[in-house]
Subunit: 275 residues, 4 copies
């Protein structure tokens, strides 16, 4: 059970998102409130888009709260589109190649949740990955296989459809192997222009997922948070867990839905796995 955060809007220093909020992601790495695991100390990753089309990624295998380089970089790196993830391993090794966000070309992918009994399904799922992509798998997580399946199913052309097909495929393989409740997920992905955020579970309640309300409301709810005062109106945060406890600032993403954060009008649409 990991924690993540995705941001799009006025350029912010990483520090403003990762360290300054009341219940920041770094604070969540030590004391998460929602979810099964309260400690997310099994590595972390941040990624951001800057001048180039390809995002930068910085990953560490120590707990995020201990990483001096992360604290340091956070004060100096500013970006209009930021991903951050803190990991609580479900058993796979703590190594950079298992840390989110994963990247492929311009694309970033991060995940909270799991594919149930992944060890039993891993081979069959991996064989479905496009042969041209297979050898680029570097780690051993369910998340990376999930990402490569979505790439195989056309992520770069139609992200929501590709994720729906990947989930449909995982569910059908799971069914054939009598794995129940195969998918629990909150996924974020981006190409640098838009962010897509998905919340879904085959059965039962998916992992928590929230998006920020209008910047105007954020400002009124957190009058003491300096950085909110200068945000452009369409700035938006999506988070596993609210960054503070005040009501009105966060909307829960409905289950079996995904949101698109993009220039112009954001969107919220149903998410329906396809076989």
């Amino acid at each position: 059970m990991c924690r993540w955060l995705a941001y799009s809007g006025s350029p912010l220093f990483l520090e403003d998102l990762l360290y300054k909020p009341e219940h920041s992601l770094i604070d969540q790495s030590l004391h998460a409130r929602l979810g099964v695991e309260t400690t997310n100390g099994d590595g972390f990753g941040v990624a951001w888009y800057a001048e180039e089309p390809f995002p930068a990624v910085y990953k560490g295998v120590d707990p995020a709260w201990n990483d001096r380089n992360l604290r340091e970089l956070s004060r100096h790196i500013r970006s209009p589109l930021i991903f951050a993830h803190i990991r609580a391993s479900t058993g796979t090794p703590v190594q950079q190649s298992n840390c989110h966000p994963f990247r492929h070309g311009r694309w970033l992918w991060m995940h909270n949740g799991q594919i149930a009994r992944f060890h039993d399904l891993k081979r069959e799922l991996s064989l479905a990955i496009h042969p041209s992509l297979y050898a680029d798998i570097e780690g051993s997580t369910d998340t990376e296989v999930f990402f490569f399946l979505a790439l195989t199913f056309g992520l770069e052309d139609d992200p929501p459809a590709a994720v729906e097909r990947a989930v449909g495929f995982i569910e059908s393989v799971a069914r054939a192997n009598r794995v129940e409740e195969p998918v629990r997920m909150s996924v974020a992905l981006s190409n640098g222009d838009a962010i897509w955020a998905f919340r879904y579970s085959t059965v039962g309640e998916p992992p928590s997922l929230y998006f920020s309300t209008k910047v105007e409301t954020l400002r009124q709810t957190y009058p003491d948070v300096e950085v909110f005062k200068t945000l452009a109106a369409e700035s938006r945060l999506v988070v596993s867990e609210p960054l503070g406890s005040r009501k009105g600032a966060w909307n829960e993403m409905p289950r079996s839905h995904y949101g698109v954060i993009q220039p112009g009008q954001d969107a919220l649409r149903p998410f329906i796995p396809r076989e």
Copy 2:
């Protein structure tokens, strides 16, 4: 607020102490119950005496719960005298040279607690370290300075007296610098023959410290713990926090006291800082 464990008795695999008990030290690294910090993920160390007079030390900067080498070594290393420590940093860097146990020759030293406002007292305390020892300081913790002060005050000749003089000295330097409540400590030290364990606080309640009851009682209280069945009668554990929740198995060390675990009769004596 760290956690530690010291064991003397029939040779045990590290695994029996670190992983197998209900509320083991590794479990405490993720979920401590007593003390201020519930996560002790800022490095760890284990040390053991084997065939040689000098103990072996293994330290890591990752959280103990993630260290595969620790798990591996624990299954293969067996010793009659074991120290283990999991760290929750109070601000100094997470680096091996700041991990306990500290070693000097045959001696091991580990600590839970802190010297208040250590940053303000550090220079004056460090200058009192014997010149022949000063340059061997490798890290930046209060614990290492405390150890080197105790060595300066004769640890190798009379351990309790040296610790009493070190604490007395720290308290007098603190008083001169108007630092209140300077010392809170539970300390373990050993030379391979005996273990000394101290519990003390200048003011208020010291950090928690427990020692195991007779092996016979341990066996009755934990009939399901295989390893207790084969322990010699004088085997003994000292711990920051009980390894399980059942009553009768653990005695609290009284405050301002120290215990000596040694071949023959153990001892419990008052601890009185000396200037």
Copy 3:
């Protein structure tokens, strides 16, 4: 181009093999003399058999010459059958799951050399791994896939035949993909009872491989090496690179051969890949 060492004989401290010889493995990690790469600083691993049938493994991602824990453990761990490996990555990440020796049950496997254009062959080779083994792959190296192929082809029943079949299979896949000179290898494997060491190359000269002469000759050649004085007569070392420069102490393993080091009579036999 890695470096490795395998030892069987009178129980030795790791230190005697890893640190004390003139041109020790640790020295080779900084300054190898044979082979393409002179620095082998991309992680390391040691493994040893002790009281249990399953070997212990200790791995690190820092250069072996810097690992304080390795130096420490080497002084305290003694074993009659030891593997050690220092890695020079050919591109895959420096993470513990990519460090040799690899282990499966009682078996250890380590490798110097490479499968040419592994990235292009990886998928086809991986699909041939037995489905019950596939999901246990943790890293991304050619060596681990090679090991799992050998396991698939019966390593636990007939090690030389299984390696011959694995190499034959790799060569046939390579041929179909127009990869020339696919295999260059010096491989060591053990089950705790015997050591098998292979030297082979599809084309041209395989990586260097040497085995020690009779202990009596070692003693005469290195009269100053204390540890050789107490070795039992059938003690034997196999190494990528001699541990010292004196003549007479080391025999080169002939190409396309493998040696078996076992209680009783050692053996040297031709190695012929099978399809």
Copy 4:
């Protein structure tokens, strides 16, 4: 024997300095040509000034050639004033607090060389550090003590004078302790506006140090290096070892001298330790 590089001029991506040149600093980490040690794999650090007056610092304990984050950040971080350092430890632990560049407020400091028999002089040198600075020492290197001595002697007001006084003091302490040839150094320091680079040795030849010739000459000498084409005329590099082998591009810093790289006219002046 470490290696370092300091750059001031038109904003460059770190990559242009660290990875792209023929004999880049990253290449030097594996294969240095000048100096005693050919491998500089004991940690590294980079620092740069960006929008803020305080520089950013990124340090690692793995070899620079292996650090994926460094490669990644290098493609995305651009600065007009960059320091980079790769370390070959002379015995002190490989930990971030021992990696250069060291920082104090706006100031950066990095060093190649050593204080002879530092272990014997450490206490006396450390006691001379201003009491307000003493407790901020985090590591155990001679370089950090040297930096804190220079700060004590007025680095922030008159950098060359402070370094001359620090060296004079070290030499006088060394003399009193009968340490011969105490100082060998090439030091770089900056406050974000200028770079000072020192080359000095009490006795004999100091560590190598070079500065780049006029940008115009660099362009002619390395017509294939893309980045030189766009550099402003007053851009300047100072390096332990030339980044390529062509003549005419690099001037050796004369011994017992220091250079100042600053807006306007650079300067080269004698360096004379003061007591």
